[in-house]
């Protein structure tokens, strides 16, 4: 007779294999990192450009360039670009981040030859037509108006603004910022930001020497842009603390977001802090979920995260809770943080988190794309694969005492910014 109360035997993950990319160079010096893996005949190519020349009076400059770069060149209209990309079943995406701007294409490898020239035109000959800019400005404002009605969006926006002030990390975009965008500013940024000196290419999927030769033939030549540019650099010595309450009388839920500046990936405490974060609010079984969702039923979800950026890092907790229980939820969050500072984490719970995090790391290396993403993380932090070795060692070995120390060092709620949008 089967005994269903006995848990089957299991093993901790002890081997995690990272695939490192091959490094090559185009004729003009652009570095290309290639992860040639996978059975499918497809490829993802990313052109990653460092953000440059930050001008706080034009907070949307680099963002708008990234967004509009596929909206018209010397030889192709926006409609023609869209038509050609779609015709080959490819996906062209632009992605704007606080540190880098990315242009990426997903395509079946057999169509690469047809797709690359479109990308070349975009990265070299974009003209940012006035009409496309006008449509962009209007539609982005419309979309922002909808977002401004969302409590979680307001909480996120205001939290970042307090944390990072007038930099690209914190800049709270307003409707007026969209109105102020000028075509000349876009062209100026394009000439400075989109050039080989500022560009790194990451390739993942089916990509062999013939495909590299194709890439080199198109992108290894001299690019159009070469204006002087200074890569953005920010410092955040300290930030404002305290509470921010934005009242929305009709709210039936309140959005809560609280947290603080903290270390990023380059700091030796980062891996340990990720273990602490996981335990507090980083997975479904976390203390915050167990208490505030599964025990109290105050919310559909609550979580915490540590975010690593190039020039900073931050920790936050976010949730949306019933408006009537907002105060109680705040108390419970602070209580959970206090417990981490005042009591040692039981061995059973810590073992569970170790195993969960190792399984999760193993599962996050699913395909060529995810291996490439893991490499980008360390590459842009100036680290190498020993970072992951150290991370795994820390997850396996960190003690309850060390985690308690980290909680005292990094989770001092007196230093937190606490934003509530809705009702208290």
């Amino acid at each position: 007779m089967l005994n269903r109360t006995l848990i089957p035997e299991s093993r901790q993950v002890n081997e995690i294999n990272f695939i490192a990319p091959a490094q090559q160079q185009l004729d003009n010096g652009i570095k290309v990192f290639t992860l040639n893996a996978g059975k499918q005949e497809l490829v993802r190519i990313e052109f990653v450009l460092e953000n440059v020349n930050w001008d706080p009076s034009k907070p949307l400059q680099s963002n708008a360039v990234n967004h509009l770069i596929n909206n018209g060149t010397n030889t192709l209209t926006a409609a023609q670009i869209a038509d050609q990309v779609d015709y080959y079943g490819a996906f062209l995406q632009t992605e704007y981040g606080a540190d880098q701007s990315t242009i990426k294409v997903y395509t079946l490898t057999k169509h690469l030859k047809s797709v690359l020239p479109i990308l070349w035109s975009i990265l070299n000959d974009s003209i940012f037509p006035q009409q496309e800019l006008d449509i962009f400005k209007l539609n982005q404002q419309q979309s922002l108006k909808v977002s401004l009605q969302k409590n979680d969006f307001l909480a996120r926006k205001n939290f970042a603004a307090v944390l990072f002030g007038n930099t690209t990390y914190g800049s709270g975009i307003s409707l007026e910022d969209y109105q102020a965008i000028q075509r000349e500013d876009l062209l100026g940024y394009f000439r400075a930001g989109y050039q080989p000196a500022n560009c790194t290419v990451f390739v993942a999927g089916k990509f062999e020497q013939p495909e590299f030769d194709l890439l080199n033939a198109v992108f290894g030549q001299e690019w159009s842009n070469n204006e002087k540019a200074v890569v953005n650099h920010f410092e955040f010595p300290d930030h404002q603390k305290g509470d921010l309450f934005i009242e929305r009388p009709e709210a039936i839920q309140s959005a809560i977001r609280m947290g603080t500046l903290t270390v990023n990936r380059t700091h030796p405490d980062f891996a340990g802090f990720q273990v602490l974060n996981c335990l507090l609010g980083g997975y479904f079984g976390s203390r915050l979920m167990a208490n505030i969702r599964e025990d109290k039923g105050y919310t559909y979800g609550i979580g915490s995260a540590v975010v690593s950026m190039k020039h900073s890092g931050y920790f936050f907790i976010a949730t949306e809770v019933g408006a009537d229980v907002c105060g109680k939820a705040m108390e419970e969050i602070e209580k959970e943080i206090g417990l981490l500072q005042n009591e040692l984490i039981p061995a059973g719970e810590l073992d569970l988190v170790r195993n969960y995090m190792l399984g999760s790391m193993l599962g996050s290396l699913e395909n060529a794309f995810s291996h490439a993403d893991k490499f980008k993380n360390i590459y842009f932090s100036g680290l190498d694969y020993s970072y992951y070795d150290d991370y795994i060692k820390t997850v396996k070995n960190i003690s309850s005492l060390e985690l308690q120390e980290l909680a005292k060092r990094y989770l001092n709620t007196d230093n937190f910014i606490k934003v509530i949008v809705g009702k208290k």
Binding site: L2, R4, L138, V146, N355, Y356
Partner: protein, 414 residues
């Protein structure tokens, strides 16, 4: 190509195995053939509430998540109007833990009062977060009962209102479980770094002893043919006017399903699509516009939704949409357009093979449709579609008397 082996246990449970040795992970996906369409009126939202209760402990295992996380696994689930799907991802060496957990909750739940009370609250907060406390969040709560008068697709998976969830009783929960959660009503897919022989052994060991249960006979009322245009106007504290148009379209298993999917792609797939290029870029009537299909197992919906640009009248915006629908109903799509949407479909199918979880979920869903191998032959159905078929489908579908329109207006336009 997604290879698989298939066998059925004596109790009727269908099992599929997809071996993929490129990953150290495994996925266990279990699809129950029950969704919101199987609920009774007055007790709606139940399939979804029940999905939450499936994590509240089973007959021999007091907590579900903890032992799974302890072996490095993760899980989640979703409920739609048609199905409820549960999935686990974990290191392949620990796959038996997934069998242990999933088989015990198919055998029987713990039916804990505390769990029911908590999950009622959690689902109510989910209802608020996703449907009530968001601009335009309640669109589907309004559009479904407008488009369907009779079929249970007239309610959303979250349910008709908060009260029905608040009133859920333990006896309802038990009845729902006995009716729908048994081997005859489920499809199990295991994928990843596993061997079919081992999976067969584990399936026999853990799921084999579970009684078959009674097969559920689905007898849903058919939606009568719509013969009159329907519309509803809503005013809310939203910044932009919204237009939502819904037409009936064939069920997922209908041989014409792929024709309708491509029809929606010509209108709305990518930035080169007609609605985006013409109505958003050229005429600037909308700041956002999409066409999509619900892919429902019974008669589904073809939906066009858009947010109007400021200063544009609803009348002009709607007229422009009708003009596009009439054009595609009266002239064949161009050769390039057809090639384009077929190429895109091919791409999407190949990219879906990048994810182990997607492969496992797709196998389960195609098995539900009739044959898991349909996943591998699906693309041929798309490639076989001709321009005339798309035009013909559009002509039969985009008729005012078969349209349900929701005008979602800003309070200031009241």
């Amino acid at each position: 190509m997604v290879d698989f082996n298939r066998f059925t246990l004596a109790n009727g449970l269908r099992v599929l195995v997809h071996e993929d040795d490129t990953t150290p992970m495994a996925v266990l996906n279990i699809l129950y053939d029950v969704g919101a369409r199987d609920e009774e009126e007055g007790k709606t939202g139940f399939a979804h509430l029940f999905e939450h209760l499936m994590f509240g402990g089973s007959v021999n295992i007091p907590v579900y998540d903890e032992p799974l996380q302890r072996v490095g696994g993760e899980n989640n689930a979703f409920t739609s109007n048609d199905i409820t799907n549960y999935y686990i991802t974990l290191p392949a060496t620990n796959i038996e833990t997934a069998f242990w957990l999933e088989s015990d909750r198919m055998l029987s739940l713990a039916f804990s009062e505390k769990s029911l009370e908590t999950q009622r609250n959690v689902v109510c907060e989910e209802f608020k977060q996703r449907y009530l406390n968001q601009p335009y969040g309640d669109v589907w709560l309004k559009l479904r009962p407008l488009a369907y008068t009779t079929h249970p697709y007239r309610w959303a998976t979250i349910g008709q209102d908060l009260a029905q969830i608040e009133n859920a009783k333990m006896e309802d929960v038990k009845a729902f479980f006995h009716k729908h959660y048994n081997p005859l009503n489920a499809i199990l897919v295991v994928g990843g770094n596993v061997k079919t022989a081992d999976i067969k052994e584990m399936a026999e060991k853990w799921f084999g002893p579970i009684p078959s249960g009674t097969a559920y006979e689905r007898r849903l009322p058919a939606e009568p043919q719509q013969t009159e245009a329907r519309s509803q106007t809503v005013h809310a504290e939203v910044p932009l006017n919204g237009l939502y148009m819904a037409f009936k379209m064939p069920a997922r298993r209908d041989p014409e399903y792929q024709v309708f999917d491509l029809l929606s792609d010509v209108l709305s797939q990518g930035h080169s699509a007609r609605l985006y290029q013409r109505l958003l870029k050229d005429q600037q009537l909308f700041s956002d516009i999409h066409a999509y299909i619900t892919s429902s197992l019974d008669e589904g919906l073809f939906v066009i939704e858009g947010k109007l640009s400021e200063g544009v009248s609803m009348e002009d915006a709607e007229k422009a949409v009708w003009k596009e629908l009439q054009e595609i109903a009266s002239q064949p799509v161009t050769v390039d357009e057809l090639t384009k949407v077929k190429n895109k479909s091919e791409s999407i199918m190949v990219f879906a093979e990048m994810s182990l979880l997607d492969k496992a979920m797709n196998l389960a869903y195609y098995e539900l449709l009739g044959d898991a191998n349909g996943l591998n032959t699906e693309i041929d159905k798309y490639l076989a579609v001709e321009a005339a078929a798309i035009q013909n489908a559009a002509a039969r579908t985009f008729i005012p008397a078969q349209c349900s329109i929701l005008y979602y207006l800003t309070a200031k336009d009241a």
